[in-house]
């Protein structure tokens, strides 16, 4: 027994040491004035110029205010920090006057310099900011961020920048600055509400690490605390000078891995808002029954498409692409897979965007098996297996199967759905131009103008033109629209450009996705989801208890 005792004496403290680490105490308590919101971990440090994804963007949007803002109802554009944005007659340069008296959360004033310096920082290549490309229209961008001659993966290094600041940005006086563009762009002011264009306080440049831990903005909320992978809290900034002041004391962004879990939490009162209703709750309109008044639906700024790798010889014939498009039964698929919660698309943009024209795709986006077969015959048929490639981790499996079977049945060719395991692998193939079949594309608008759905995706050599579509007539039409005298004229011309896509069908529009969000009517009186699928935090009001 002696040995046993000794062993027990050794084992006991070992066990205690192992387990003690798990028994820290203390509970977190949210105050009654705190609204909890479904959220995900951001992919980058919370710097406006380095945040292009939606989770980081949600927080950034609450703690920063831009020159213009987008209405949470219909995404219409109005001035926020800008007092006046005056374009030159040719729309090539813009004089921006900002409202005086605004301050950052640390008390320092927001000046024209706060914008110019921040934009230069974001655009400067060696700073490695994700949002750098948003400044490519500004004169002098190529000097601060020269392109790598053979792409990021090639052996050659990008040349050193020859300048540290863009020559197109000039501070005129503390409250005014001028932006000169490379080419005319009438809709430039619309873009200015995007997070990459937010100003930065002086302290950012002196203490970047400190700023990453505790971002300081000029928005209606100020950063309070963050517990990585768990939650982030912002509190109301009482000296906010804008019109839309926050009505609640604090907002807690809560990290969820599963949308279904967040939804259950919302229904049982543990969460106040979700940005997106899971597909499981859309079936049979369950979510409307569950949430009542809290069920929100509005047109969104998101599209879902199938694109062709035009660098592959087999897809060069537009008639083949049209035939495939016409063989897809969009109404039935949206009804059966999404319980009618998606609208079949008839164009390449989204209905809620400024400048939208319905029916741009015309008969080529209408289900017509007869005509599809004729077009396929005209194109000389299709040899081998047609594949549809999507990332298997994004909830695209069901509709991809449905689209594959719709094409198979109506065209009589062999169609296979072949998922790639992760989004990251899917994007790697897209960037490396390795697709051998049709692939999924989706686009979320950065700013509310139809241009956001056209230039980046279909212009020759554009950054997200993964299929390598190129049509000089389309490029010329875009140029013409960019140079239009005003936004209305520009929108008409963008729509004309969009119309050209119908002849080429480089990408098949499938459906557009409305924003379907939900809030808890137990605690909130009002909460608006924006067309960008974010919660408009300043609109949130609590119920009188």
């Amino acid at each position: 027994m002696r040995k046993g005792r000794l062993a027990a004496m050794l084992a006991a403290p070992l066990a205690v040491a192992l387990l003690a680490s798990g028994c820290g105490g203390g509970g977190s308590s949210a105050s009654a004035d705190t609204v909890t919101v479904e959220w995900g971990e951001p992919e980058n440090p919370l710097i406006p110029g380095n945040t292009t994804e939606v989770n980081g963007g949600n927080v950034i949007d609450s703690i920063f205010s831009g020159l213009v803002k987008y209405s949470p109802d219909d995404a219409s554009v109005s001035n926020e920090m800008a007092e006046q944005i005056t374009p030159s007659p040719d729309n090539k340069s813009f004089t921006i006057k900002i409202k005086p008296g605004w301050t950052f959360h640390d008390g320092s004033p927001v000046t024209a310099d706060s914008f110019v310096k921040a934009w230069n920082y974001t655009a400067y290549g060696p700073n490695g900011q994700q949002g750098a490309s948003f400044f490519e229209q500004i004169k002098g961008y190529d000097d601060v961020n020269p392109a790598d001659p053979d792409g990021a993966s090639g052996p050659q290094e990008a040349p050193k920048p020859t300048a540290e600041t863009m020559s197109g940005l000039k501070v005129l006086d503390p409250n005014t600055f001028q932006v000169e563009l490379k080419a005319p762009l009438a809709i430039f002011p619309t873009m200015l509400g995007y997070s990459a264009f937010y100003p930065l306080p002086e302290v950012f440049y002196t203490d970047k690490d400190g700023f990453e831990d505790k971002p300081i903005g000029n928005g209606p909320f100020k950063f309070d605390s963050r517990s990585p992978n768990e939650s982030l809290t912002v509190t109301r900034y009482d000296e906010f000078k804008g019109e839309d002041k926050a009505k609640v004391g604090a907002v807690e962004f809560k990290v969820y891995d599963e949308l279904d879990t967040a939804y259950q939490d919302l229904v049982s009162g543990n969460l106040d808002f979700i940005r997106q209703v899971p597909v499981s709750a859309l079936t049979g309109d369950k979510w409307r029954a569950d949430l009542g008044e809290g069920a929100q639906e509005k047109p969104g700024l998101l599209t879902q498409n199938i694109a062709f790798p035009l660098y592959d010889e087999r897809f060069k014939n537009p008639d083949l692409r049209k035939a495939i498009s016409m063989a897809i039964d969009r109404p039935t698929i949206t009804q059966q897979i999404f319980a009618g919660s998606r609208q079949p698309a008839d164009g390449w943009t989204s209905p809620s965007v400024e400048g939208f024209v319905p029916g741009q795709c015309g008969e080529y986006c209408t289900f017509n098996p007869e005509k599809a077969k004729q077009l396929l015959a005209k194109a000389g048929g299709f040899d081998g297996t047609l594949t549809i490639i999507t990332n298997g981790d994004g909830g695209h499996n069901e509709w991809s199967e449905a689209v594959a079977s719709s094409i198979r049945q109506n065209l009589g060719i062999d169609v296979q759905y072949t998922p790639t395991p992760t989004f990251s692998e899917f994007r790697r193939q897209a960037n490396a131009r390795e697709f051998t079949g049709m692939y999924r594309t989706g686009w979320v608008a950065d700013y509310p103008n139809i241009e956001t759905f056209l230039t980046q995706l279909y212009r020759t050599g554009a950054s997200s033109n993964d299929g390598e579509y190129s049509n000089p007539a389309f490029d010329a039409a875009l140029d013409k629209a960019n140079a239009a005298p005003n936004v209305e004229a520009a929108n008409k011309l963008y729509a004309d450009a969009e119309k050209l896509l119908a002849n080429d069908m480089p990408v098949i529009p499938l459906w557009t996705q409305p924003v379907q969000a939900g809030f808890s009517t137990e605690r909130l009186a009002e909460a608006k989801a924006t067309p960008f699928r974010k919660l408009d935090l300043t609109s949130v009001t609590l119920k009188q208890q």
Binding site: E43, Q130, N145, G151, Y256
Partner: protein, 308 residues
Amino acid sequence: MGRYVLRRLLQLIPVFIGTTFLIYAMVWAVPGDPFAGKCGERPCPESYVKEMTEQFNLDDPLVVQYFKYLAQLFSGDFGETYNGVQISQLIANAYPTTVRLALVALVIEAVIGVLAGIITGLRGKGFLDSLVLVSTLFLISLPVFVTGFVLKVWLGTELDLIKTSVGSDPTFGELLVPGFVLGSLSMAYVARLTRTSMMENKRADYVRTAYAKGLEPRRVVGVHLLRNSMIPVITFLGTDLGALMGGAIVTEGVFNIRGIGGLVYKAILTKEGMTVTGIVTLLVLVYLLMNLLVDILYAVLDPRIRYD
């Protein structure tokens, strides 16, 4: 005894280095580019990719990368994730939660499993034995996410008895249901293991001798029979604690528990090699120490077991 423990502790070093290297290499063997999917549907700007590649030594050969990482680790720095968060902070946030969850699961599976095992083991064939057999079979055949989801919806949403998700610093009460879900599979195994072990030892010579000496049945079972029968069960429970800490991915997902399992899972998907290695290193340590603990406990249970 002391020498034995010391030898076992020294063995930890090569095992530790070997496992961390394997993990590091495996994370990088998974094909894919960590920055391919980071900028949504658009490719990341070249300057961004270049900056990140430099910052995380991704251009170096794997071995160099690993040793740079190890040097960093020995100076107490777990490194940063791609989104600029200290990995040590992530672990410090997630670990207590996971340890608590694993403990709750372990206690539930040990108490219920051992009790069911003892009762059925002593009584032998009969209604109760069949009942335990059927219910353990049922638990083993149900995937964890089914058990978890059914319990969550039924107890949480329908009956409103529990919260459907667990807060960031959960109490033991909040973790009861998730702990039950997590431990349910092992609970079934513990019950079966205990039962078999008891059945086997019931007819052993020493038990017969104990009865023949005229000892009380309670003492025979409690002190003599149970102690010997517990050896395989303790082995199972010990290694299971390690498994519970790393393998709670599904349970943590269902109840939105911000623990280690989900953290590792997400890090693997986003190719955050440093995060994966950092966490797995800790899991390896837990496994090794638990194994040591179990081995030492053998002597307590069965004095015939000698070390050295």
